[in-house]
Structures are given as structure tokens and as C-alpha cells.
């Protein structure tokens, strides 16, 4: 068994190594991402200000019974200057998402078209499906000299600010000539293979990069849902959650990410 595992991992590694070593640039393929969330910490965001006492008790109980970290998987297919980010269903039986925290779910299917610099995101919010058409997101990126190896690729670190206040840490590789990334995070001179929102206790990490040609048909924007502009969605949510005090502010921010 161990042997088989060793061989498989060697093969996988070799596959990645080949990609990483060659001078050839990657322009199409499939990337598998893993979203890791600190469920205990995000639960505290739903306590309210001042904290609802019953929730304080519930969160304490939750922390005792549910593992601290939860992992979700997703895939990003890219090619022909377009990409589609699709969440994969949760299989774990121990998955409990207290108060339906939006960060503890995968709600977005995101199509990006770099030719027109536009995004089409399908968002599932409190049971509703919305189709949000937007330009690629405005993120102020600051490059640092730091590097990290992710899925066999040398990645460069960039710190970013999205929605004017949310701090991001991204690692991108200029080996992949596609300025995309998980969810709606784009805009770096290469593919984002790791993205953390430190203050929201979440990190997306690429676990596997496969270079392959991608049939154009697989890169189609999601269609199902009510079309809505980002601003209209924001207003709608804001209105919906206006009495939720800090919980509303928190969830709104997560939905708009």
C-alpha cells in the first residue's frame, strides 16, 4: 500500500515538476483548490454587538463538538482567456455550519472573461440564486519580495485590499500566463495559487495544477438565477440585514467578496 502511495505521489510530483521546470508558459488547464476555514473563529462573527448571550453559549458548545477546521474543495478551469470557478459539494459528515455563516459555505460560481475584463458570478444567498455581472474586481495589490512554493510552482507574495478594507494575502505564479484566481480574486501578473483573508480566517490553496487543453464549451458563464447589478445586490442585502447590527455588516461583507 505504502509503495503504491509513494509511486502515485512521485508521479503527481513529477507531473508538477515538469510543468514548473519547463520554460513553456501555461495558458490553459484545471486547478484544484482547497478552501480551509477556521469554523470556531468565524462562528464568533455571528455573536452580534453586544453579543447575544444565547449565542455565546451556543458557540462554546459548538466549539466543543465540531472540529476547528473545515476543508471545502473547488476547481478552476481556465483557457482561451476565460475561466470558470466551480465549488464542489461537501462530503464530510462532521460538517456543521452554525448560523449558516456564509464564510462556512461555498456560494459562488464565478466566470471570468479576460478579453472583456468582466465577471459573471452566480451567488447563492439565503436560498436565492443571483447572477451578478461585474467588471473584474478592483483590488489594490502591493508586491513583496517573498516567495513560496505552492503545488510545485514558485509563487510571489502580494498583499491586497479589496472592498476598500478587506486585507488579502495572495501568492501568484508568473509561470501561468493567466491573471486569474479562486472566487473573484484576480488582477495579478499571473495565476493566484494561494489566497488568504487573514482576518476572516480563510485560505484557498491550490492542491493540484493540471495543464490541459480546455474545450471552449466547458467555459460558459452560469445562467440560472436573477440578474442583478452588484450595487443593487448590495442595497438589497443591506436592506434585508439592516437590523442585524454587526452580524449584518459581517455577512454583507462576506457576500460581496
Amino acid at each position: 500500500m505504502k509503495k503504491i502511495l509513494a509511486i502515485v505521489s512521485c508521479m503527481l510530483l513529477a507531473n508538477n515538476m515538469v510543468l514548473a521546470q519547463g520554460a513553456r508558459m501555461v495558458t490553459s488547464g484545471v486547478i484544484e483548490f482547497e478552501k480551509k476555514v477556521n469554523m470556531h473563529t468565524i462562528a464568533k462573527q455571528e455573536l452580534g454587538t453586544p453579543p447575544y448571550s444565547y449565542r455565546v453559549l451556543e458557540v462554546e458548545e459548538y466549539k466543543k463538538t465540531v472540529p476547528q477546521f473545515m476543508t471545502f474543495t473547488s476547481k478552476l478551469t481556465f483557457g482561451d482567456n476565460k475561466s470558470l470557478f466551480t465549488p464542489l459539494p461537501v462530503s464530510s459528515s462532521s460538517y456543521v455550519n452554525l448560523y449558516d455563516n456564509p464564510m462556512g459555505m461555498q456560494l459562488n460560481t464565478v466566470y471570468a472573461d479576460m478579453n472583456t475584463n468582466s465577471l459573471v458570478a452566480q451567488k447563492e444567498i439565503y436560498g436565492d440564486l443571483f447572477i451578478v455581472k461585474d467588471s473584474t474586481r478592483k483590488i489594490t495589490w502591493r508586491l513583496t519580495g517573498e516567495t513560496q512554493e505552492i503545488a510545485g510552482f514558485t509563487c510571489r507574495r502580494a498583499n491586497g485590499i479589496i472592498l476598500d478594507s478587506v486585507y488579502l494575502v495572495a501568492f501568484y505564479t508568473d509561470k501561468i500566463w493567466f491573471s486569474g484566481g479562486p472566487e473573484s480574486f484576480t488582477g495579478l501578473p499571473g495565476m493566484i495559487l494561494k489566497l488568504a483573508i487573514p482576518h476572516e480566517n480563510v485560505v484557498w490553496t491550490a492542491t493540484k495544477v493540471t495543464e490541459q487543453t480546455v474545450p471552449a464549451a466547458t467555459l460558459a458563464p452560469p445562467k440560472k438565477g436573477t440578474s442583478i447589478s452588484p450595487k443593487a445586490l448590495y442595497d438589497k442585502l443591506k436592506d434585508h440585514m439592516k437590523d442585524w447590527n454587526s452580524i449584518g455588516d459581517y455577512e454583507l461583507k462576506i457576500f460581496m467578496l
Binding site: T27, V56, N81, G145, W177, P189
Partner: protein
């Protein structure tokens, strides 16, 4: 594949040309250093200063690249390729070099360090969000054992003076909270000089509304500049404190001990101090606390400002302002705790203190009177007064308070607060003053002694209940407060006035004056907020207030037996006052659907019934009036960090009872006040606007505010002088002119190289009116001030700051148009701190204050220099021995005040130069106290 790449390049060219049609661009060719092979690399352009990504592109198959649509500025080019070492190069684009051609860029197949790129990952030092400025503690240098004050001194726009008063963007911070909780009755120094800087996570500065306003959203106009210190979660469990003892020459000493224990649900703090060098550190602004409101109290602007009884409280300040020789001992305990899942909380404080102040003050003043037809000698139009006053004041005070809060569910809250203060006061003073005319001819000479001893008691109790309903924005609240004050005092008063031109030339008052005053104020305010639509809501309030007061003042002359037992009925009186206030208010609030715009408009009307009963004569004086106070406020969020606010409020000011019918007093025989029963109310209009923007990433911030206010039918004084220099004051309404105040303040902060730079400009001016010998005088004053501050530091190496700027004061009196009191001044300071080998530290502070000479008053120049050398012991530097020299240039401070018709200059006695040796020990028991890496 080729097509795809070409389209990528095209795409970027397209995108960039859309974003900005600027003429700036770069180009070049990327090749291998060795074999000159063309390389297809990623071309990234970042700001040279902060490494922010500006544009990126990819080179073509032939290695050529162009990046267009760049702005002007300084950049770094970053050419990267997985197989090659990064190439970085700085370049500048400006009008003379719109295009930069890098020519052939050679890449090496080897690693290279990115040393040309400055990476600054520091947190953002100061962010302004709407009405709140957020200061991130991690962005500042924190030395071991630094206190919150050391942190505040580094914040752009924040100024900390030597007494520990903090000013932010030109406004003084009045209230201090720790994690949103009051701490020692918000005594500022207990927060700024006790709490450790390394415990701080964030600080917020904002305008705190009254409890009722913040719960209900109905603005009652009460706003206090507040600093809230948020502690780091990991530092909330532990114990810390400080013990220090110092001894100096001239018999000066200073001792402090503080202990704080913070644990999840409670905070316990104890302190004690003793000092006679004025650095009693934990002073408190007691005058603002005694007999005034706790935070829940309803305050009605009933327009009848001013006290009903002359207060006689002039020296009632335990806060040492640098004048005289103080000695103080203080101590206190603070405890707060939360329980039942933080639904209930108690916050309690007890403070005890004793302060004595010995002072001697010399005052020179000049008053210019309009030429009078009856005056033969023009020299009589100038009055020069000099006075010497020696005093000793002693105060012993105890204060306790308890606040209970309960939030049984998210929609209901209840707050009950009770406090009490006891005070014993002894004030003794002797005063000699001389009044001469312009030629130096003696008009009067007065010698006066006063010995006063008294007790003061003050109690406050308040209750606030609020309930939010299911329907959003529907809120009910009820606030009730009771305030009770009682003062008992006896004054022994002696005055001898010598007037050479009068007969008789001598006038003597020798009296014993017992006084008992009491005030009881009960207020109730009910508010209700109702949403009218999704964007509009209406807030209503009804207030009811009762004020019952009494003032019994007696004056006894000395009889033949030597006892003070002859009642002087002219200067004895006993009044009772009753006031009933009914207030109704309505305010509409509009919030746009995008929540970017808010607008409120409304008004309050108060009906006041006032009754004064003279207990001696049973005469009743009644007064009924209605006050209007309209208000409007507009705020728009232009972007996440850009706000504009405009507001207006207006209100009646009723004449005070002292202006209508003053109580006769003879403690100031040379200055008499005469009532005017025909006085009417004045109406004041206040307008203000402010704008702020902050660019978080680059650390730039800009703030601007302006205000303008004017009064219609304002109440002004008319002072007439007789030929002996005695003044008589009467108030009247000014109908055809409007006094006004205006101001402007602007602050700009940014980083320049290694320096944090901050510049502000302020303009303050007013036009005021007064009558002098029945002739109207218009006084125009404008003060211009600007100051630049540059600061730099290197952790564990040095800390340096320099600030300064000129002040111009323009002052003009219409009665003496030929004279002016214009003066130029300068304020500045230099601070440096140096880390020397072997754990020695040297620091020095120099402040310079200069006011130019004006008519008959010489220039005031005050250079204040202090220096300190200290050595730290132990690994965590917790033990410190320091030698401090204060006021090294041995300057005697004085101050000058320009009034409508002249000036007053005061010189006071003070400790002056002294040296002190201090040993202090900081102790902590947290998990870690490491200085954050910067």
C-alpha cells in the same frame, strides 16, 4: 497558442488604454544575457515608493514589450520569469520623459536579491472613516514599558501637552474609554499614563453622543470628543503596574504606585500618588465633575445659561496648571465586571484626594476708554491697574460612583448610575491693587483679604431605559435624572479702599458672610422614533424638568463687642427659585437607499416658567419664555474614506437672572453690576462643515473644517467708569449689529521619505461688541496659526521630532482705531531621544513660545528646556533610574490676554528650575511583552 498570447498582449494594451489616456509609456526588449535569446517574460510596473502594482504586461515572442497608459511618477520595473533571476530597475516618467525605453534588458539565469524594491508591510497608521479616526497601534514604535501617551504622541494630528491634555485635529479630547467602558470616571491621565502601549490593539477617536442619542438615534446635540482604547485580546488577562519614587532639590518629591489586574470579566485598578512638583500625574479635571452630569443625565438647553448664584468657585480646581506651588495626594480604586453572559455589568470608582496650592500672582492690565465730553484730562481715558495677590487654597475631596447596566435581551437596555462627591475647601487670599490713569495719577488703592471655608456635597442619580421594537427603527427610551448640590461656606471679608479724590477718602468693609445654597434638578426625557418609510423616520421627544434652588446669603458687620453679629440687610438676601421646563421636539431623518446620504432636520421648543421669591420681602419675580432650537445635518459618504458633513443649529439664549436682577454683593466694590429688567433673549445661529479623506495604502490624510456663527439681538455689556475708576456694568441687547465667530482648520499628513510630516493651518476670528461709557465698541480679532511637524524614529536608535510655526494675531478696536494690538508670535518645539550604549537613554525637550510686544506690554518669550538621562536595568528594561532637569533655563512663565478694550498680563509664581532623581519599576504578568517587530 500564438494567437492566444497575442490576444493577451492586445487585451492588456486595450485595457490600459481604456483606463487612462495618458501619454506615459515604457518599452524594451527582454533577452538572455548569455545567448541573447528572446525571452517571453512578465513585465510588472510597481510604485517605487510603496510597491503597489500599477500595470503589468507580457513580452512578445520577439522579447519586445510595451506598457502604455501609465501615470507620471517614480516606478520600479520588475521583469520576472520562472527560469531567470528577477530584473528590477527604477525609472521616472514625467513631462520631459513621457516614454522610457529600457532598450535591451538582459536576464541572468541565476538568483538575485530584490534589494532595490522597498517593501513596507507596515499596518496603516491612521484611517479616517466617517466620524471616526482609527489608529492602529501596530503601526507605531512601541518601546518596552511605553504608555498609551507615548503612542498618542506619534499619531499624526495628535498633540499631547506637558499636562497630558490630548488634542486631535485641533480639538481637545474630553472623554477616555477603555474597551468602550469608562475607566476611573474617564480621568484622562489614568488611561494615557497608566495603560501600557503594548496592550493596545486600536484606538478610535470620535464624537460621542449622549447615551440616549446613541441608543435612539435622535441627536440631542450633545457631543464629546472621545478616545476609545481597544485592548489586545491576549493582553486582557494579566496584571501590570508601576511604582516610582523621585526626589529633587528645593525639597521636591514625587511618588506613584499603580496596580491593575485585568481578567476576562473584570478589571481592578488601584492607585496612589503623592507629589509637590506639580507632576502629580494623576490629576483630574474636577471642576468639570463636581455637580455636573454623569453621562446619562438629560441636559436641556433651556437657554437660561449662567448660574443663578454667583459661584465663588474660581479656585476650585484640583488640576495644576503650572501656576503656584502645589502639593497633592490622591488615591483611587476602579472595579468593573460583567456577568450573566455579559448581559449585566457594574462599573464603580472611588477616589480620594487632597490638594494644596500656594500662589502669588501679579497682574498688569490696561483699559482704554472712549473720550468723554465730561472728562477734562485726556489721561483719564486710560486706566492702568496693577495687582498683587497671594493665596493659599486647600481642598479635600472624595468621590464615589456606581453604574449598573443590563441588557436582558438585544432589544432592551437599562442603565442606572449614581455618584456622590464630598468636598472641604479652605481658601485664603490677600490682594493689593492700584489703579492709576494714563499719567500715573493714583485713582484708587485697595487692599483686601478673604478667608473662606466651606463644604460642598453633590449627588447625581440617573436612569435610562430603552426598548427597540420589532419594526426596524422603532425605538422608545426614557431617561430620568436627579442632581442635588449643596454648598455651605463662611467668608471673612475685609476691604479697604483709598480714593484720594473722594470724600471720605477711605471706605472699609469688614464682614462675615455665611452662605448656604442648594440646587435640586429633576429632569425626564422621553423619546420615540418611528419609521415613516424605508428612508424616512421621525423622532419625537418630550422633556419635563424641575429646578428648585435656594440661596441664603448673609452679611454681618462687626459690632462694638468685636463679634460679627450686626446683619447688613443691604448685602444679605435669601432667594428661592423654581423653574419648570416643558420641551417638545420633532426631528425627521432621511437616509438614502444606498445609505450614502443622511439628512436630518427638526426643531425643539421649550417652554420655561421661572419664579424667584425673595424670602425677605416676599416679592415674587416671574418670567416665562419659549426657546426654539432648530437643527439640521447633512452627511454624504463620497467614497469609503471620503466624507462631507454640514450642520446647522440655532437657539435662544435667555438673559440670566444676574443680568436682569443681580443679587447685590459687596465683595468687589470697584466693579458693580446693575440689572436691566428690559433685557430680551438673543438668538444664535451656528453653521459648520467638514470634509475628510484618507488614503489608507499610502498613509495620506487630509481634513478640513470650518464654522461660522452669529447672534441676533445679542446681550452685551455696557461698562461705565466714574472718575475714581469704579466700574458699573449693565447688560443690554444689541439690535442692529451681529457679533460673530468663525474658524477654519485644515490638517494634512503624509510620509516624506523617512519623515512623518504633518501640517496644519488654523484661522480663528471673532467680531464682538460692547459698550464702554455708553459708546459702542467693535472689536475684531483674528488669529492665524500654522505649524509643521516632522518626526522620524528608528527603533532602539533614535527618536526625533521638530515642530513649529508662526502665529499672527490681528486685533482692532473701533473706539481706539489709532491703537492696535496686532502681534506676531511663534510656537515651536524640538524633541529628541537617543539610545546610548549600555542601556542609557538621553532625551531632551525644548518648547518655545513667543508673543510679540503690543501697546505698553512687552514681548513674552518663553523658552522651556528639559532633559533627562536614564538607564534601564534587567532584560525587559523594567527598572529605570533617571535624572531629570526641568525648566533648565529657569524661565518664569507669564501669560497675556487681549480684551476688547485693552490687555491683561499675568505673572505667577512657579517652581521653575529643578532636578529630580527617579527610580521606577514597571511590572507585568502577561504571556508576552515583546515589542512588535517593525
Amino acid at each position: 497558442m500564438k494567437i492566444a498570447i497575442a490576444s493577451i498582449v492586445l487585451l492588456f494594451a486595450f485595457v490600459f488604454s481604456c483606463v487612462a489616456q495618458t501619454p506615459y509609456s515604457i518599452k524594451g526588449v527582454v533577452v538572455d544575457t548569455v545567448d541573447k535569446a528572446k525571452i517571453r517574460a512578465t513585465i510588472t510596473v510597481i510604485n517605487a515608493k510603496d510597491s503597489i502594482l500599477v500595470k503589468f504586461a507580457r513580452s512578445n515572442t520577439d522579447g519586445t514589450f510595451t506598457v502604455t497608459g501609465l501615470p507620471a511618477g517614480k516606478f520600479s520595473l520588475w521583469i520576472t520569469h520562472p527560469d531567470y533571476a528577477d530584473h528590477t530597475e527604477n525609472f521616472t516618467l514625467d513631462a520631459t520623459n513621457p516614454t522610457h525605453d529600457f532598450g535591451s534588458v538582459n536576464l541572468l539565469l541565476r538568483e538575485r536579491v530584490l534589494n532595490e524594491v522597498k517593501i513596507k508591510g507596515a499596518p496603516i497608521a491612521l484611517r479616517i472613516k466617517g466620524d471616526t479616526s482609527i489608529i492602529d497601534a501596530r503601526a507605531y514604535v512601541i518601546q518596552p514599558n511605553d504608555k498609551v501617551e507615548d503612542l498618542l504622541k506619534q499619531v499624526p494630528g495628535m498633540a499631547v501637552d506637558k499636562d497630558g491634555k490630548v488634542t486631535f485635529m485641533g480639538e481637545q479630547i474630553k472623554k477616555y474609554l477603555v474597551d468602550g467602558e469608562e475607566f476611573f470616571g474617564d480621568d484622562p491621565l489614568l488611561v494615557t499614563r497608566n495603560l501600557r502601549a503594548d496592550m493596545v490593539d486600536k484606538m478610535q477617536v470620535y464624537d460621542r453622543k449622549s447615551d440616549q442619542a446613541s441608543i435612539t438615534g435622535i441627536d440631542d446635540g450633545v457631543k464629546v470628543k472621545t478616545l476609545n482604547v481597544t485592548l489586545r485580546e491576549d493582553k486582557k488577562n494579566g496584571m501590570f503596574g508601576k511604582v516610582s519614587a523621585g526626589a529633587g532639590n528645593k525639597g521636591l518629591y514625587n511618588g506613584q504606585a499603580m496596580l491593575n489586574k485585568f481578567k476576562g470579566d473584570y478589571k481592578l485598578s488601584v492607585y496612589g500618588t503623592t507629589a509637590n512638583n506639580g507632576d502629580n500625574g494623576l490629576g483630574d479635571d474636577d471642576a468639570a465633575k463636581l455637580g455636573t452630569q454623569s453621562t446619562t443625565t438629560v441636559t436641556f438647553d433651556d437657554g437660561s445659561t449662567g448660574t443663578y448664584f454667583g459661584s465663588g468657585d474660581d479656585y476650585d480646581e484640583s488640576y495644576y496648571g503650572g501656576s503656584g506651588f502645589p502639593s497633592a495626594r490622591t488615591g483611587g480604586v476602579h472595579y468593573d465586571t460583567k456577568w450573566n453572559e455579559k448581559k449585566q455589568s457594574i462599573n464603580t470608582n472611588y477616589k480620594i484626594g487632597e490638594m494644596a496650592l500656594t500662589n502669588s500672582v501679579n497682574t498688569i492690565s490696561q483699559q482704554n476708554l472712549p473720550a468723554q465730553p465730561t472728562t477734562i484730562d485726556p489721561a483719564d481715558n486710560i486706566l492702568n491697574r496693577t495687582s498683587d495677590r497671594n493665596s493659599y487654597n486647600h481642598t479635600f475631596r472624595q468621590r464615589g460612583d456606581v453604574t449598573f447596566q443590563s441588557n436582558p435581551n438585544p432589544s432592551t437596555s437599562l442603565k442606572i448610575a449614581v455618584d456622590g462627591t464630598f468636598k472641604n475647601i479652605d481658601n485664603n487670599s490677600s490682594n493689593g491693587s492700584t489703579l492709576t490713569n494714563g499719567d500715573g495719577k493714583l485713582l484708587t488703592r485697595e487692599t483686601q483679604t478673604q478667608r473662606e471655608s466651606g463644604q460642598q456635597k453633590a449627588f447625581n442619580a440617573s436612569f435610562l431605559y430603552s426598548k427597540k421594537f420589532k419594526k426596524p427603527n422603532r425605538v422608545f427610551s426614557w431617561n430620568v435624572s436627579e442632581t442635588y448640590n449643596e454648598n455651605t461656606s463662611t467668608l471673612k471679608f475685609y476691604s479697604h479702599i483709598y480714593t484720594p479724590a473722594n470724600t471720605p477718602v477711605d471706605s472699609i468693609i469688614d464682614q462675615n458672610k455665611p452662605t448656604v445654597t442648594s440646587t435640586s434638578v429633576l429632569n425626564s426625557n422621553i423619546t420615540y422614533n418611528e419609521p415613516l418609510s424605508k428612508t424616512l423616520s421621525l423622532g419625537l421627544n418630550y422633556g419635563l424638568g424641575f429646578n428648585n434652588s435656594s440661596a441664603d446669603r448673609e452679611s454681618f458687620n462687626r459690632s462694638g463687642s468685636g463679634n460679627y453679629d450686626q446683619l447688613d440687610t443691604r448685602f444679605s438676601n435669601n432667594y428661592k427659585f423654581n423653574q419648570v421646563l416643558n420641551q417638545l421636539g420633532a426631528v425627521f431623518s432621511f437616509t438614502s437607499t444606498d445609505t450614502k446620504t443622511t439628512f436630518t432636520v427638526g426643531s425643539k421648543a421649550s417652554k420655561v416658567n421661572f419664579k424667584q421669591i425673595d424670602q425677605y420681602t416676599a416679592k415674587v419675580y416671574k418670567r416665562d419664555f419659549i426657546n426654539w432650537s432648530p437643527q439640521a445635518r447633512f452627511q454624504r459618504k463620497l467614497s469609503a474614506s471620503e466624507f462631507i458633513t454640514m450642520q446647522y443649529n440655532g437657539g435662544n439664549s435667555q438673559p440670566t437672572i444676574d443680568q436682569i436682577q443681580p443679587i447685590r454683593v459687596n465683595t468687589d466694590p470697584l466693579n458693580i453690576v446693575v440689572g436691566n429688567p428690559n433685557l430680551g433673549p438673543s438668538f444664535r445661529h451656528n453653521m459648520s462643515a467638514y470634509y475628510n479623506t484618507s488614503q489608507a495604502i499610502t498613509g495620506k490624510s487630509f481634513y478640513i473644517n470650518a464654522y461660522y456663527s452669529f447672534s441676533a439681538n445679542s446681550i452685551i455689556s455696557n461698562i461705565t467708569y466714574d472718575k475714581f475708576g469704579k466700574s458699573t456694568t449693565q447688560y443690554r441687547n444689541l439690535s442692529d449689529k451681529m457679533p460673530r465667530n468663525y474658524g477654519f482648520y485644515s490638517n494634512l499628513s503624509r510620509k516624506i521619505g523617512e519623515f512623518d510630516a504633518n501640517i496644519y493651518i488654523s484661522i480663528n476670528g471673532n467680531t464682538s461688541y460692547s459698550y464702554s461709557n455708553n459708546v459702542l465698541n467693535q472689536s475684531d480679532n483674528t488669529t492665524y496659526r500654522t505649524s509643521l511637524r516632522l518626526g522620524t524614529y528608528k527603533a532602539k536608535k533614535y527618536n526625533f521630532s521638530i515642530s513649529g510655526g508662526p502665529t499672527y494675531n490681528f486685533s482692532k478696536q473701533s473706539l481706539q482705531a489709532e491703537r492696535n494690538y496686532n502681534s506676531a508670535g511663534f510656537n515651536g518645539g524640538i524633541y529628541f531621544g537617543l539610545y546610548l550604549p549600555a542601556k542609557f537613554q538621553l532625551s531632551s525637550n525644548f518648547d518655545y513660545d513667543y508673543q510679540g510686544a503690543v501697546q505698553n506690554a512687552p514681548a513674552v518669550s518663553q523658552p522651556m528646556l528639559s532633559a533627562s538621562l536614564n538607564r534601564s536595568f534587567f532584560k525587559n528594561e523594567s527598572l529605570k533610574l533617571s535624572v531629570t532637569g526641568n525648566n533648565l533655563l529657569d524661565v518664569n512663565p507669564n501669560n497675556r490676554n487681549i480684551t476688547a478694550t485693552g490687555f491683561t498680563q499675568t505673572n505667577y509664581a512657579t517652581i521653575r528650575r529643578y532636578f529630580m532623581v527617579t527610580l521606577s519599576w514597571d511590572f507585568t504578568k502577561f504571556g508576552t511583552t515583546n515589542t512588535p517587530a517593525n
